[in-house]
Amino acid sequence: MTAQNNKDVTHIAFHQSINFTFDGVKYRGFKGDTIASALIRNNVRVVGRSFKYHRPRGIYTCGIEEPNALVQILSEHNEPNTRATIKQIYEGLEVESQNCWPSLENDLGSINSLLSPLFSAGFYNKTFMRPRGFWKKVYEPLIRKAAGLGKPPKPFRTTSTQLHHHVDVVIVGGGLSGLLAAKSLAKTELKILIIEQDGFLGGILKNSNKISTIENKDNKLWIKELEKKLEGLENIKILKNTLATTYNYINHLIAIEDRTTGTLPLDGNVDQILHKIRADHIILANGHIERLVSFRNNDLPGIMLAGSFEKFIQRYGVIPETNPVIFSNNSSCLSLIKKLIDLNCKPQAYVDSRSGDKIEPELLKIIHKKNIPLFTNAHIEGCDGKKQVQEISVRDAEGIITKLKSKMLCVSGGFNPDVHLFTQSKGVLSWDDEYLTFKPDKSFQNTIVLGSNAGIFQYSKIVNDINTKLSFLDHEPLLEIDLTLNDTDKYSIEKLWETKHEKESRWSKSFIDLQNDVTTKDLRQGIQEGFDRIEHLKRFTTNSMGTDQGKISSINALGIVSEILDKKVSEVGTTIYRPPYAPLSFASIAGRGTYDFYDPERKTSIHEWHKKNGAIFEDVGQWKRPWYFKSHPEENLYEAVQREAVHVRKYAGVLDGSTLGKIEIKGSDALEFMNLMYTNNFSKMKPMSARYALMLGEDGMVMDDGIISKINDKHFIATTTTGGAAKVLSHMEEFAQTEWPHLNVFLNSITEQFCTFNISGPNTRLIMEKVFKDIKFDNENFPFMTFGNFTYLKSTVRILRASFTGELGYEIYVRPSIALKLWEDLFRFGKDEGLIAYGTETMHLLRAEKGYIIVGQDTDGSVTPHDMDLEWMIGKNKKDFIGKRSLTRTDTIRSDRKQLVGIKPIDPNDIIEEGQHIILTSSIKPPVKMLGHVTSSYVSPNLGHSFGMAVIKDGKKLIGSKAYVSSSSKGAFEIEIIKPIFIDEENKRLVS
C-alpha cells in the first residue's frame, strides 16, 4: 500500500516540512498535518493496540470520532489518549503508541487475543468472584494494572485558563448550515457566538468533495467572503479550534479551545481555554457522523470510513491508498469515487449492498465508464491479514465469495446526526425510517437543530429549514442558494448493520465498538443472558461507553439488538450519550484553580507578623491561622505546644482571634430576637456585660456558641466560632426575615471590621495596664464578663474581660488599621511580663484543661446542651427559643444519651488518642461494646499526663468509674472517667 500526496489542497503547507517522532522513529510531515495524516503519508498503518485483546489497530476515521488512533504525547507532559486524527504535528513533537509492551510491533498483551474466547462479555464479573479473598490482594491490583489506555501524564502546572460568555445565540458548527444561520441572523442585534471545532469555517464544504460551488462561486471563495462579512460585525464572534463538549441545563455550554494547534505549547502561554457559555438560544449545526458496518475482522488496519478517506484527500492532501475497495449501503460514496477518478486513482472495486436498480444512475454511469468492478446486492464478508488488511472477501448476491487482494477498504454504513449535544441537553430523539437513524425530535431547552444534525440529508431543503426554524428570531430570510453538487441531492440508504461470517470460529471477531473491543457476539451473549434492555446491555458489554460514547457504532448496535429481539429500533430506544462529547483534560477543567489559586485564602490583618515570627499555619475553613510558633527552627509541633501551654499558665500569651465571627445586632426588638436565637436569657443582663451563650438548631442540638455582649436592650454584639460565622449570620437573617418579620432587628457582620486579640495568663493585667494606661483593670472596675469602649490611637477599641484558657484574660477588638500597632505594643509592654504569641493548638489544649468545649469538635450535631453538661445555659423561665421544644422530646431527655465526660489514663505514661473508642473491657476483639468516643485529647504539661474529653452513654452516672480506651499502639488501656474539667474548677484563676 502506498499513500500519495494530493497537492491541490489549501490547508497543508507542502513547502513547510515538519519533523516528529512516533515510537522513537523520525517521520516528516507538513505544516497542517495531523499525526494521523502525517503517519498515513509515511505509510504507517498500525498506530496502537486495542483495549482488551491488544489487536493491532489503525486509523479508522479522520476526526474527533476516532476510536482507535489514541496516542500519548511525550512532548506534552505525556498527555495520554490524544486523538491522532485531531492533534496537529509541530517540529519536535514526540508521539508514542499506547497499550502495548514492549513494542507496538511485538506486544506481549496480544496473548489476550489468543485467549479471547475466554474474555466474553461479563468476563470480570463472572471470573473474579472466587476465591473471595483473592479480590483485594490479587485480582484487583492485577486488573487495575492492566486497565486503562495510556499512562498518566507527568505532574505539571496547567497553562489552561477559562472564559465565561453570555450571549443571545450560540451556533455550534461553522459548516454550511451554521454559516447560513449566521448569515441570516447577521443583521439582527443578537449577540452571536459561532463555535467551530476546526481551524477554519466550512466543515463538510472543505472536508469533502460533495459541493464544489455555491452561488456560482468556488465554495472556498464563498466561505471566505461570508467569513469576512461576519468577522466585520460587532455582534458576531467566531471561535475556531473550539470543540463544544457539554450541553448543560439552562443553555449552558462548555467548549474547549485549543490555542496551540500545530505548535509546541510554551510555558507561560495559554494552551487551552475552557469556554463556559450561557446563551438564550443554542443552534446545533454540528453535522453528522459516518458509521461502520460490522463484519469479520472489521478492525484490521487498512479499514477506514469512506467519508474519512475522502477527508484525508480533500483536507489533508493525502490519498491513503490509490486503489481502495469501497463498500457501502448508501449513496454517499459518489463524491469519493469522483474525487479518486479526478486524481487518476481508480478504486479496485465498488461493493454495494443495494440492488443495481437502487444505486444512483450517476454512480453506475461512472463505474461502468471507468470499468470499476461492481458488486451489487453484495457484502464484505470479512477481511484477512496479519497486521493489516491484505485480502478482502466479497459475497455477492448468489453467495459466492470473491477474494480481492487489497490493502485498503473504505466503508460507509450510513450517517447519524451528531446528536450527542442534543441528548445531553435532554432533547428527545425519534427514529427516522427513511435514513435509518435517530434524529432530534423535541427540544427540552432553547435548542434549534439545523441541517444534517436535524436529520435533513437533502441539500435543497436546508435553506427552507433554516428560514422556518429561525423565523422567531426576526432574522433575514435566506433566498434559495445554487449549489453545484458532486453528490446526489438526496441521500438514500438501505439497512445493513452486520454481514454474515463465512468462517465461524471462536476467534473470528466482528466488532461493534472498536474502542472498547466489543463484538456483535458480545451483544448476542448479553441478550441471551437476560440483559435485553439497551441500558443494561450497554453496561454488561461496555458497548458505547468510555470516551468514545459509540460515535461510529451506537446506532449499529441498536440495529443489531432490534433484530435479535425482533423489535423496531425505535422500541429498543437509545442509551444516553454522556458528556463530555470528547475527552477534556483535567488541566483544562482545573484552569488556573491550582496551587496558589486552589482555594481562596483568608488572612488576618497581622498575618505578615505571624510569618516573620515563626508561625506555622493551619487551615481553619479558608482562614490561615497560626497553629503554633517555632521558638527555633528545629522545634516541632509537640514541643512548641508544650512550651506555649506552660508559658501562658505561668506568665501570659496572646492569640490572634480575629477569625472569630462577629455580628452586630440592633433594633427596637433586638432583645426579644436574641432571647429567641439563643438558649440564654438576656433580659436581666446588665448593659455593658457579656455572657457565654449557646445557639441550638430547631432539633435542639448544639449549633454554635459564642459570647454575647449587651450594649443595651436594643443593641448586641455576638461572637461565633470561626467556622460557624457565615452559617450563624445566615441562620439569624433567615429567622429575622422569614419567621419573625414583625421584629424590628437588623444584623451586620463585623467579622472583618475588627481584629480580635485574646490575651490571657496571670501577668495579663500588668500588660494591659501598661498598654492602656487610662483604664482600670482591677476586679472592681473591670469584673469578669464585662466590657467597655476605650480610645487607643484616636480610635475606639472594645475590651471584654473574658477568657477561653481559664486564666485571667481579655479580648481586645480593634480596627484593622491600628491592629498591628496594638499587637506590637502588647509585646513591647509585655516583654518583661513574659508575653508570648501562641497558636490554635495551644489554645485547644488550654481550653480543654479548663473543660471548655469546641463546637464541631466535642459536638457533632447530635448533642444537646444537657449532653454537654451545659443545661445551666438554658434560660429556665424563657417562653421560647429555637430548639426549646425539641429538648423535651423523649429521645432528648433519655438519661442514657451520650454525655460529655473527662477521661484520664490510670497509667500516666499512656496517651489517649482522639477518636478512639471508650469500651468496658481491655480486649478489643470484636464484638466490643462501645460506650462512646474520645472527642478531644491532649498531653498536658500542666497536668503531667494526657487527658481527654469524651462523649459516652450515660456518662454523667459513670463519673468516678473506670473503663478502657482503645489505642492504635497497644490494644486498649485503662482510664478513669472524671468530670470534664481538669484545672481550676473553682474559677480562681479566671476571676483573679
Binding site: H164, R592, F597, E601, S605, R815
Partner: protein, 171 residues
C-alpha cells in the same frame, strides 16, 4: 495604589470609606441620608444613586451601602453614631474591613470574564447598578460606575483576589 496596568486594563487599589446601613426605606431614613451625605436613597434593588464623591446602592430591600469615592471630610464614626441614635437603624463602619479595587480600560470585562461567571452585558448589568457575586471564587460586590467597575470584598480575601486579577490580566 496602581495594582497593575496591562492589556488595556488598569486596576487600582483605593482607600475608601464605606458605611453599611440596615433599615427599612422610611422617610426618616431618606431624610437622614440626604442630610448627612447629600444623596438620595435608590428606589430599586441593586440600583446606585451617584453624586460627585459618593454613591449609595441598595443591596437588598433593607440594606444600603454608602461609599465615598474620594477622601471625605465627613467624620464617619460621628455620622454612624448619629444614625445609630435611631433605634430602628443599624449603621456600621465598613471602611477597614473591605478592599476597594477600581477596574478600568477597554478589556476590563474580558479580564473579569476569566474569573467570574457574572453577566456584564449592559441589559443585565446596566450602569449605576450593583451586584453581589463570586470573582475568583471570592464573594464580592461590584458597582458599575459607567466607565469603571468598583469591586469590593472582605479584606481577609484581599491578597487572593488581587492575585487572581493580576493573573487574569497576565495569563
Amino acid at each position: 495604589m496602581n495594582l497593575i496596568s496591562s492589556n488595556s486594563v488598569e486596576i487600582k487599589e483605593l482607600n475608601l470609606h464605606q458605611i453599611l446601613i440596615r433599615g427599612d426605606h422610611t422617610p426618616a431614613l431618606s431624610q437622614l441620608v440626604k442630610s448627612q451625605f447629600k444623596i438620595s436613597l435608590p428606589k430599586n434593588n441593586l440600583e446606585i444613586e451617584e453624586d460627585k464623591n459618593v454613591i449609595c446602592s441598595k443591596s437588598s430591600f433593607d440594606q444600603w451601602n454608602i461609599i465615598f469615592l474620594q477622601d471625605t471630610k465627613i467624620k464617619i464614626d460621628t455620622v454612624i453614631d448619629k444614625i445609630n441614635e435611631n433605634e430602628k437603624l443599624l449603621a456600621t463602619n465598613y471602611s477597614e474591613g473591605q478592599i476597594y479595587l477600581e477596574v478600568t480600560g477597554d478589556n476590563k470585562i474580558a479580564v473579569l470574564n476569566k474569573i467570574t461567571h457574572f453577566d456584564f452585558r449592559e441589559q443585565k448589568f446596566p450602569s449605576l447598578t450593583s451586584a453581589q457575586t463570586l470573582i475568583g471564587r471570592v464573594d464580592c460586590s461590584i458597582y458599575n460606575l459607567k466607565n469603571k467597575m468598583l469591586i469590593t470584598c472582605n479584606k481577609s480575601f484581599g491578597d487572593h483576589l488581587k492575585n487572581q486579577l493580576i493573573d487574569a490580566i497576565k495569563f
